[in-house]
Symmetry: C2
């Protein structure tokens, strides 16, 4: 069967989406990478991504690629930036619309290699060399995450639904790269009234168990409309 060809009067770049998927474990901020199975950059690690179809929006394309390549359930997906350097793909001109996503690492098996390619979580601090301009995209995503986490409550997307105050503080310390004062942090976070105190405590710890909380998304959305600004 003859492959259909699509012809245009003027040449046009291809459009892809690429996703920076962040997760968080006890130690580190992690990024999900996929090992390339074909040229160019065969064997190198790269961001999950692929071509945008004609019948899907950019957001849909990003979600589809994430589902296909990682099988992850995404809590948060947001457009990051579009990258259009001329030689960013050695094969042909490709413009990519980059996204970044936040997932709850604990809720997912560490390895989910859905289509024979290797996928793995890497610490954001010690990444392998990446294909294309993916290092640059990843750096942009890290910068965005670090600035956004301070004035939007997106950090909760990285935590289990129920979490301790220590976990959320460690999250901020990890992402912002500095230590925070425990009492001031708790005062500020609890003072916003966005955490619901649960009658549950963490388990399996060799010390006093901490109380669990959950983030009250509804209340945040309500307050947000009234001009409330989240800020850490």
């Amino acid at each position: 069967m003859m492959a259909k060809q699509y012809s245009y009067r003027y040449p046009r770049p291809a459009i892809t989406v690429d996703c920076v998927v962040f997760g968080l474990d006890e130690e580190d901020l992690k990024v999900l990478l996929i090992q390339r199975g074909s040229e160019p950059f065969r064997g190198d690690w790269a961001l999950p991504g692929g071509f945008v179809q004609l019948d899907e929006t950019l957001d849909d394309a990003a979600m589809r690629e994430l589902a296909e390549e990682t099988g992850l359930r995404i809590r948060f997906l947001e457009q990051l930036y579009s990258f259009g350097a001329i030689e960013r793909d050695p094969r042909e001109r490709v413009v990519t619309v980059a996204y970044y996503a936040l997932v709850r690492l604990k809720e997912h098996p560490l390895q989910a290699s859905t289509d024979a390619r290797d996928t793995a979580w890497f610490s954001a601090c010690c990444l392998p060399s990446l294909a294309f301009d993916h290092q640059h995209i990843l750096q942009t995503a890290l910068d965005r995450l670090r600035s956004k986490v301070r004035y939007q409550p997106i950090g909760f997307e990285l935590l289990p639904q129920q979490f301790t105050l220590r976990q959320i503080q460690q999250l901020y310390e990890t992402i912002l790269g500095r230590t925070l004062d425990k009492r001031n942090f708790r005062k500020k976070l609890l003072g916003m009234g966005l955490l619901v105190e649960l009658d549950q405590w963490e388990t399996d710890v060799a010390h006093r168990a901490a109380r669990l909380y959950r983030f009250d998304r509804r209340k945040y959305q309500r307050l947000s409309k009234q001009g409330f600004n989240f800020e850490i």
Copy 2:
């Protein structure tokens, strides 16, 4: 002569850039629009923009389109967001990478119709109905401008190089949509040490003339690297 055709194995969207150009006069925040000369949306007002060529980056494409369609000297150009709704262009699938630009309105003739199409400045508050999804793009740009102006010194790109404290305050009041206290505003702005006090005063005013200042970009960049954060 036969027009060359470009063929691809898979269909691909076209890629355009569109620019929201902001200017500021005494009264209002203004946006530059171009009246469309051809279908679709013939006669409607639209953002300046056009197709991305294979041999130019996205930024270059935005600058080229601005030069071609408006002839403006751009002080500030930044990528805004990429819009990829499937039906946003009735002719075919078009993904657009939107930019926003800031210009010094005073330094430009009010009308600069370089290629027979009408261009005009509209008050951001009372816009005509726009072609495509340009209303949506423009709203996104307004939101971005309003949030960015508070923590980056981009407002100065909209003012003459030498300006009075009243002008910069009015700029913030216009963009943020609320009044600011004169003394507190001056204290804060001068306290940052980023304004150079000139031995010049405004002219042609029917009242006491105000001192002129200029923004010290160099100093800002230096401080910025050392962790200084601009904030109004």
